[in-house]
Amino acid sequence: MSQAISHSNDNHEHHEDLSILGFWIFLVTDVLLFGTLFATFMVLRTHFDGGPTGKELFEAPGYITETFLLLTSSFTSGLATLALHKGKVNQLIGWLIITALLGMGFVGLEINEFSNMIAEGATISRSAFLSAFFTLVGTHGLHVSVGLVWMISIMIQLKTDGITSVMKRKVTMISLYWHFLDVVWIFLLTIVYLMGVM
């Protein structure tokens, strides 16, 4: 019996590693998804159709604060991974909570930004440029929101299960995901906002 158990542990570790590999490949496909959206945006970024331009719409305090929140949350999710490797559950959960709060702040600001724009008449159907803008930035925001739900579910499971090999895998995945979204945001910031106001 004891042999069977150690055998089963081997199997589990193996499965968790496999899952992480699969997750990396999933991220590659997600890169391509964003790549396609970026390409679309590049084609349409000057198609204002006489409507508002990026220069008129984007407000520096908004997107700079968003950047600050997301970058910081990426850092805190890194700290969470450190706590994971040290095996400290409470610390881990703590950093995840902070990460999630920062992420919520980000999403909140983005919603605020979108609704301000819509109120000014800059809606998705105003011009091809705005269609591309809302879709690209919105897709990123949607990714962050899904990540938040996932992160909360992981925190609950950590609370009940502690740090198991399964939970290790899950925390590793969400932090990979979170860093990935951070990198995508850097591109968004550069291509959409900074190039837009220039």
Binding site: A4, H7, S8, N11, L18, S19, L21, G22, I25, F26, V28, T29, D30, L32, L33, G35, T36, L37, T40, V43, L44, H47, F48, D49, G51, I124, S125, R126, S127, A128, F129, S131, A132, F134, T135, V149, W150, S153, Q157, K170
Partner: protein, 654 residues
């Protein structure tokens, strides 16, 4: 109130066409019959436990294959309807709008709901067994892939009786597919049917990539892998790179239709040609996604039935990979007429022609493998032999189409229709049929009857040439694709009539195959050895059908075609009792089925723009995901005792 209801129903249900009423009745009766049988024989529990919740790759493979054969039937009926309409000039069998719907559903169904699932079915059946694995890397995800495909296909097919079918061609080019020109729900059905099954395809791409990279049995290096598994890897890598583009493209089209955005519209800065570029960045790799595994099957079949190792193994692998990479750089050949500069067209013309080189290498390798081999003409081999000349002609006409200036003449003519059916039927369908005949005994434990199979084979083949050769000529005579009728004065009548007769031949061929399957279930030759073809690769070393854990003890291999080597060295495939250990297996789960059903609900809501339904659907999806995330004990062990029983039943235990 009643009037409101009536008004709603007349929009909701497709009305006014006797063909559709007939189909309504047929669908209703079939459903009633199925439900009756399930109740009468008390089979609900069995259906749920054994099939709807299964995570076993072999059963999932079988479900894929059944679903795809049903879709082949539907797509084939569409094809016959079109050929009936075109058989003679000025026929009033189908109205123009109805014709548009039928070529759209035919094309979409054949590629996305017939070829793709048949391909995934064969992946599931063969890959884990060939590489000596107990299952795919992610069995749960595998089940999810299947059910996403299944519900996507259901959603698409529903458009036939509810709401109205899409009618903007199998790639739904805007501006025609935009809201202003296609105001009905048809295009929404198209978008969501493909989106759902596309997610499944992407997940399968990840699943089989990891399976092949990480789950090979001890001693099997990549360069020892059977060529079918190599072709699956090539195809999956292509899926990973191509399908995200499709997802985005269709999403953007939907945002245009749903939220009034302007990606592809003619107004407010939209650009329809961007859609055409994007969709073909997926669409061209897609044809390689489906044809590469067919190449893999031909390699297995040729080698087995020539009793030789495949000639030029390394060059075969290399060609597969080159084709999958080059496949990304040819998409513009679908619209040389867009008006891109001569340099752009020249680039894409040359890349397209370049693909002929590795393909030619493969054909020569198959021929050299047969050369001086001890050839056995079995059913899989027949379809393979038929493929070679067919694909040669298809390839040659492809190179003709790739000559950009000349394409200004052939573009969107019947020449093109003949070309791509030549490669899709002669390459993909023949290949998958060869694979089906080849692995059938492994799936079910009996062979398919030869006599009926020969009838089917010759009907398909003769029918194929009779149907499509005249279409090349029709193309030269000026007949364009997607025309629903033509006049006597065009001079197209005789060739069209011949073509339609050929289509009927293929239809009869299909009926023979259905008969062949039903007949063989009862009378087919049983396979008791597990190795009915004297095979070379690991799947033939285990009993047919394979036990749920595939390999009682994972084999250790020493190189290519290891099972053949073992037979040559006189080793048997018996298993020592002391080697048996409990086997770790994934548990069945109802979540993939339920979650995909919720996606279906959400997709239906999106199609009709019903927010409440979208919310219910998406909430259900989220609930399923969380349920899976929180669930524990998703695996179990098969005890040694049970393995011992199973293996000794097959007489494999010493």
């Amino acid at each position: 109130m009643l009037d409101n209801l009536k008004d709603f129903a007349s929009h909701f249900f497709v009305t006014g066409d006797p063909l559709i009423y007939g189909a309504d009745v047929a669908i209703g009766l079939t459903m009633a019959a199925i439900i009756f049988v399930l109740f009468y024989f008390k089979k609900w529990g069995w259906l749920w436990r054994e099939w709807l919740t299964t995570v076993d790759h072999k059963k999932i493979g079988i479900m894929y294959i059944i679903a795809s054969l049903l879709m082949l039937f539907r797509g084939g009926v569409d094809a016959l309807l079109m050929r009936a309409q075109l058989a003679l000039p000025n026929i009033h069998f189908l109205q123009s709008e109805h014709y548009n719907e039928i070529f759209t559903t035919h094309g979409t169904i054949m590629i996305l709901f017939m070829a793709m699932p048949l391909m995934f079915g064969l992946f599931n059946i063969a890959v884990p067994l060939q590489i000596g694995a107990r299952d795919v890397a992610y069995p749960f995800l595998n089940a999810l892939s299947f059910w996403m495909f299944f519900f996507g296909a259901m959603l698409f097919n529903l458009s036939f009786v509810i709401g109205g079918s899409p009618a903007a061609g199998w790639l739904a080019y805007p501006p025609l597919s935009e809201l202003t020109t296609s105001p009905g729900v048809g295009e929404n059905f198209y978008i969501w049917g493909i989106q759902l099954s596309g997610v499944g395809s992407l997940a399968s791409g990840i699943n089989f990539t990891v399976t092949i990279l990480k789950m090979r049995t001890k001693g099997m290096k990549l360069m020892d892998m059977p060529l079918f598994s190599w072709s699956v890897l090539a195809s999956c890598l292509t899926i990973l790179l191509a399908f995200p583009v499709l997802t985005v493209t269709l999403a953007l089209l939907f945002i245009d239709r749903f939220a009034g955005a302007h990606f592809f519209t003619m107004l407010h800065g939209g650009n329809p040609m961007m859609y055409v570029n994007l969709i073909w960045m997926w669409g061209h790799p897609e044809v390689y996604i489906v044809v590469l595994p067919a190449f893999g099957i031909y390699s297995e079949v040729v080698s087995t039935f020539s009793k030789k190792k495949i000639f030029g193994y390394k060059s075969m692998v290399f060609s597969l990979m080159i084709i999958s990479v080059l496949g990304y750089f040819t998409w513009v050949h679908h619209f040389f007429t867009m008006g891109a500069s001569a340099n752009v067209n020249a680039f894409f013309a040359i890349t397209t022609m370049a693909i002929a080189i590795p393909t030619g290498v493969k054909i020569f390798n198959w021929l050299f493998t047969m050369f001086r081999g001890r050839i056995r003409i079995t059913q899989p081999m027949l379809w393979t032999l038929a493929f070679i000349p067919t694909f040669l002609v298809g390839g040659a006409t492809g190179v003709m189409l790739a000559v950009a200036p000349a394409d200004y003449q052939y573009h969107n003519s019947y020449f093109l229709i003949a070309h791509f059916h030549q490669t899709l039927i002669g390459g993909v369908v023949f290949g998958y049929l060869a694979g089906l005949y080849y692995w059938w005994p492994k799936m079910f434990g009996f062979k398919l009857n030869v006599k009926l199979g020969l009838w089917a084979f010759w009907l398909w083949n003769i029918g194929f040439y009779v149907c499509f050769m005249p279409q090349y000529a029709l193309g030269f005579m000026g007949m364009t694709r997607r025309v629903y009728t033509y006049g006597w004065d065009m001079g197209w009548a005789p060739l069209n009539l011949i073509s339609s007769i050929g289509a009927v031949f293929m239809g009869i061929g299909f009926i023979f195959q259905v008969w062949q399957i039903l007949y063989s279930i009862k009378y087919g030759e049983r396979d008791t050895t597990g190795d009915p073809w004297d095979g070379h690769t690991l799947e033939w070393s285990i009993p047919s059908p394979a036990p749920e854990y595939n390999f009682a003890v994972l084999p250790e291999v020493k190189g290519r075609d290891d099972f053949w080597r073992r037979k040559e060295e006189g080793l048997d495939n018996k298993i020592k009792e002391k080697d048996l250990k409990p086997i770790h297996m994934p548990k069945n789960s109802g979540i993939p089925f339920i979650m995909s059903a919720f996606w279906f609900v959400a997709g239906f809501g999106f199609t009709f723009g019903w927010t409440w339904m979208i919310v219910i659907g998406l909430a259900g999806v989220a609930g399923c995901m969380l349920a899976r995330s929180f669930s524990k004990n998703n695996d179990y062990y098969i005890p040694v005792e049970q393995i011992r029983k199973t293996e000794s039943k097959y007489g494999r235990l010493v």
